[in-house]
């Protein structure tokens, strides 16, 4: 299948209208929590208050006796079933031990949510507290309790789990290329820095929700899961039901940001639906979402890099230790690490490197995927590290990056030749479009105005997908897909691609989403995949239809009933680059930072949805800004203490500075008409850009996220004398 740059039709030059926009603004759009069934029951869960405890006994008699309660289930009813996206290590309900505060011990179905919640309170659980592991080094210490002694019996989807070097390690990887020791020996200077990154939440506004019922032998699931076919697979393996008997309906999703690939409730809801013969729905309270789903990984990242006299990188080693929490279930990749856990010096020429990364079991809230998994952590570390090196060498930080940035064909930190953006051109564009002029003021002589640079890299999504295009009367066509639109604009993208390729008006292209039984298998939303993978399948479908029409000698108007399946297998290892320049001011008395000006240059290839693309970049910046300066899912003694959105603050439009965006569109990507991916392109590097600008402004170098006013203030040299 070819999908490389052909001049897109005129329709793509116009800003888009969202296919689902009218339904959303009029309130007609139906979200999972809006779906109700006749006779539907409501679920509530009993959660462990301890980070690590043996379940001695569970007494459900008082809960069962409450009028309106239809079923109360415990781990004894669901064991040994566990779920997960790759490693199924998360019990449907705990039967033996609870491994984090919020781990589910019992589930209730009742006539109303209030009764279900009341019944959950009446479940008496006797716990025996066990020593809790609340730090990664404690998990790996001699004599640490093994949190998953039966790991060998857990299902691992689509392959075999590689044996971890320690029973409390979820996933581990080492990658080496070049002669690292020789590189360090030849270095003029070797720098080592350690950075800390906190747990953060994806921050979607729509809460998780699921509704499950039995329709004869078929299990029907309405869900907020953004990968419905994967959920069908997870449920099939976990519950022992053939996929052919599970139908998943994932409609509009009110934000995902990487978090909604993992489902928690659906498995217990199935048991409740079976036990009661009724549909059962659960809508997660946001407090529970923050405390007990799957956050972004907290971690410690140590980077060591050797450079020559002019600052060229000669050798690099890194060690990334992520707190995986109680279960690895949230991670879909076979390494059981966040996708880019090992990308510790992305975007640079690295002749020799040894990278080690791991995720570790602890008694904390499980960690899973979040927008650009692993990247905000590594980009914060790497781009802070590069800046520290530049400042120590007395080289302008942008200049040091220009000396080291990858160009096509260079070997990067992965040891592979780079296939992506020409980094030198990107930085040249950045220099040109920003008013970059760092002060490089020596510490102790701050001028309270500073410039920060940071660059980032994100792969273009890979994978396989298919969708169906069929003709309708009056020259119209309908595209049927299993892709749920989580707000990114997928359906609009498909419509525009088909419209452009067939040369017909947008009003003649309908896009419909169908449940898992009615469309071909689809990998779902995530991994920067929709545009390059499903978008390519949409283009393929349009081309196939064109070919069929040509072969039949018909026009669309007299096409009759035709149906084609568009397919895509995007395996190219392509990556895009982006970079920021931020200008900040720092309040000399409070440490408060204000971003005065922001410039983003991003290599995006061909633009299909111009409005959504800009929205993804601006939204990515806002998302990154939140993680840069305010977001932290704080835990104390194993408990998430930021249990509401008043304490866990997310930025709003009122917090957005002016952001100038320059798009690089010349180099085509592997997606339709030469498109690339932008959904996870803009957020990871914001943290380091802020940290770098803050140091330039006032000398305070913050080595951990978030970069709060107080952290900056505490580092101000002149603080005491003021």
């Amino acid at each position: 299948m070819t999908s490389v740059a052909e001049a897109p039709g005129g329709v793509l030059a116009e800003p888009e209208y969202r296919v689902e926009g009218r339904d959303k603004v009029t309130g007609a759009a139906r979200f999972a929590a809006d779906v109700a069934m006749p006779g539907m029951l409501h679920a509530a869960f009993v959660a462990s208050p301890y980070p690590h405890a043996r379940i001695v006994s569970v007494d459900v008699s008082a809960a069962r006796a409450l009028p309106g309660v239809r079923a109360v289930l415990t781990g004894a009813d669901t064991k040994p079933q566990r779920f997960g996206r790759r490693l199924q290590d998360w019990p449907v309900l705990c039967s033996d031990r609870a491994l984090f505060i919020g781990d589910r011990v019992a589930a209730v179905a009742a006539d109303t949510l209030q009764i279900a919640a009341e019944a959950a309170r009446l479940v008496e659980v006797e716990y025996e507290e066990l020593p809790a592991i609340l730090a990664t080094d404690a998990a790996l210490a001699e004599g640490a309790p093994v949190l998953h002694p039966d790991a060998g019996s857990y299902a691992f989807l689509g392959g075999t789990r590689s044996a971890p070097p320690h029973p409390n390690i979820q996933g581990h990887g080492v990658r080496e290329h070049g002669d690292v020791e020789a590189g360090f020996r030849a270095s003029f200077r070797v720098y080592e820095h350690t950075f800390a990154v906190p747990r953060t939440h994806q921050g979607y506004i729509e809460p998780r929700a699921a509704l499950v019922w039995l329709d004869g032998e078929t299990v029907r699931v309405v869900t907020t899961n953004k990968t419905p076919f994967s959920l069908r697979n997870h449920m099939s393996v976990s519950l022992g039901i053939p996929e052919s008997r599970i139908v998943v309906d994932a409609g509009h999703i009110g934000g995902d940001f990487g978090g909604k690939g993992l489902s928690l409730d659906e498995f217990a809801l199935y048991h409740l639906a079976r036990a009661t013969g009724r549909p059962v729905r659960a809508v997660t309270r946001y407090a529970d979402d923050l405390q007990a789903t799957n956050s972004r990984h907290a971690g410690t990242i140590t980077l060591r890099t050797g450079v020559d006299r002019v600052g060229r990188i000669l050798a690099h080693t890194s060690k990334v230790v992520f707190d995986g929490g109680a279960y690895a279930a949230g991670k879909p990749v076979a390494t059981l690490m966040p996708g880019d856990a090992m990308l510790t010096l992305a975007g640079y020429r690295v002749p020799a490197a040894r990278v080690e990364a791991m995720t570790v079991y602890t008694n904390h809230v499980p960690a899973g995927h979040a927008r650009a998994p692993g990247q905000p952590q590594n980009a914060f570390a790497a781009e802070s590290h590069i800046d520290l090196i530049a400042r120590d060498l007395g080289i302008d930080p942008l200049e040091l990056r220009e000396r080291n940035v990858v160009r096509p064909g260079d070997v990067d930190v992965t040891g592979q030749p780079w296939h992506g953006t020409d980094g030198a051109e990107l930085l040249a564009r950045l220099r040109g479009s920003s008013r970059y002029a760092p002060s490089l003021a020596p510490e102790g002589r701050p001028n309270w105005w500073g410039w920060g640079v940071a660059l980032g890299v994100r792969h273009v999504g890979r994978g396989k997908a298919s969708l169906v295009l069929r003709t309708l009367p009056a020259g119209r066509v309908e595209l049927r897909t299993g892709v749920s639109d989580q707000g990114g604009g997928a359906h609009t993208l498909f419509q525009r691609i088909v419209s452009a390729e067939l040369g017909i008006g947008l009003d003649r292209v309908a896009v419909v989403r169908r449940t898992t039984d009615a469309v071909p298998n689809d990998p779902g939303v995530g991994g920067s995949r929709v545009t390059p993978v499903q978008g390519t399948a949409a283009l393929d479908a349009a081309r196939k239809l064109k070919a069929r029409l040509a072969a039949l000698g018909r026009s669309l108007e007299d096409a009759g009933e035709l149906e084609v399946t568009g397919e895509a297998a995007q395996e190219a290892h392509e990556a895009s680059m982006y970079a920021y320049v931020l200008a900040v001011t720092v309040d000399s008395e409070t440490g408060q930072t204000k971003i005065e000006d922001a410039t983003l240059v991003a290599d995006v290839g061909t633009v299909i949805n111009p409005v959504a693309l800009r929205g993804q970049l601006e939204g990515g910046f806002a998302f990154g800004l939140g993680q840069a300066v305010m977001e932290e899912l704080r835990v104390e003694d194993g408990r998430v203490v930021t249990a509401n959105l008043g304490d866990y603050k997310l930025p709003t439009i009122a917090d957005m500075p002016r952001l100038g965006i320059e798009l690089m569109t010349e180099r085509p990507g592997p997606g339709p008409f030469g498109a690339k991916s932008v959904g996870e392109l803009a957020n990871p590097a914001v943290g380091a850009a802020v940290a770098n600008a803050v140091q330039d402004a006032c000398g305070s170098r913050v080595m951990s996220l978030p970069i709060t006013a107080e952290k900056i203030w505490a580092l101000l040299p002149a603080k005491q004398s003021r």
């Binding site: 209030q114 709003t652 107080e710």
Partner: protein, 282 residues
């Protein structure tokens, strides 16, 4: 959790309901705090007495003496957009406009805000700094008490259970008085304050400080009156302010939380009090 919902049409009817159900009744004004507590399961009243239909509790208007009356059920947004409130004191409008988001301000009421007694709220310090009083009704009659001192602890006021705030009265502002409300927001624009400062000040003809009242939010279990600083600068030339505000550290009583450590908040109380006073003497 079930409860009976009452919507009395008059204050008398509301007081009667409170009297009848005692501790089991909870007043509902705008609901922005109460509904959250109820949804969390922390507040479980048997009777909810909603005041939305009690017309006599509304309104924002100037009083005959040049002061301002704010009905207890006036929303934050109504105060924020009131020409009378703006003419009375722009700083008062600033304080109401600083609260959360416009969605919250459209719903939250002035009386509800004072009764909830959240020490991190914006309006109470400003109302206290302006010398506001609340009128309170109960079956025993009516009484008036100052906003300064109304809150006695976290979420706790000196009001008896059967007392209802009916209005807030602001006295006329003496000519030459200036007011300021500053809110330190190191995270988002819609956050609670890390520290907030409400201040009023009037200079005498000789340039000395004739009147100063300083009330801080979010640095104690209630709004905190910076009496030591007030006493130290009264009658003094404005250049003495710089030294005096160091005393703020003894007036405030912050705790470590997500908005900052106690050490940081203490220092920020000093910095922001200095800024507020600088603005008033500029």
């Amino acid at each position: 959790m079930t409860f009976d919902y009452h919507e009395p049409r008059s204050l008398a009817e509301a007081l009667d309901l409170l009297g009848r159900h005692g501790d089991d009744a909870h007043l509902l004004a705008g609901g922005t705090a109460t509904v959250i507590l109820m949804r969390q399961g922390l507040l479980r009243p048997g009777h909810v007495v909603a005041l939305r239909a009690v017309a006599e509790l509304g309104g924002v208007s100037r009083t005959a003496d040049g002061g301002l009356r704010i009905g207890a059920m006036a929303t934050h947004r109504q105060v924020e957009r009131s020409a009378d409130a703006l003419a009375y004191s722009p700083a008062l409008v600033d304080a109401f406009a600083s609260v959360a988001t416009v969605r919250i301000r459209n719903q939250a009421t002035v009386g509800g805000n004072l009764a909830h007694a959240d020490p991190a709220q914006d309006p109470p310090p400003m109302l206290a700094a302006l010398g506001a009083t609340v009128t309170v009704r109960s079956p025993r009659g009516e009484r008036t008490l100052p906003v300064d001192g109304l809150a006695v602890d976290h979420f706790t006021t000196s009001l008896a259970h059967d007392e209802v705030i009916t209005e807030v009265l602001l006295p006329p502002i003496e000519p030459g008085t200036r007011e300021a409300y500053l809110k330190f927001l190191p995270r988002t624009a819609d956050d609670y304050a890390t520290v907030s400062v409400a201040a009023t000040m009037r200079l005498a003809d000789d340039g000395t400080i004739a009147h100063a009242r300083i009330v801080l939010g979010a640095v104690g279990p209630t709004p905190i009156r910076a009496r030591r600083v007030e006493d130290a600068i009264r009658g003094q030339p404005t250049r003495r302010i710089g030294d005096a505000i160091a005393m703020i550290a003894d007036d405030v009583d912050p705790v470590d939380d997500l908005r900052g450590s106690a050490v940081y908040k203490r220092e920020m109380a000093r910095v922001w009090t200095g800024r507020a006073l600088a603005q008033l003497t500029r």
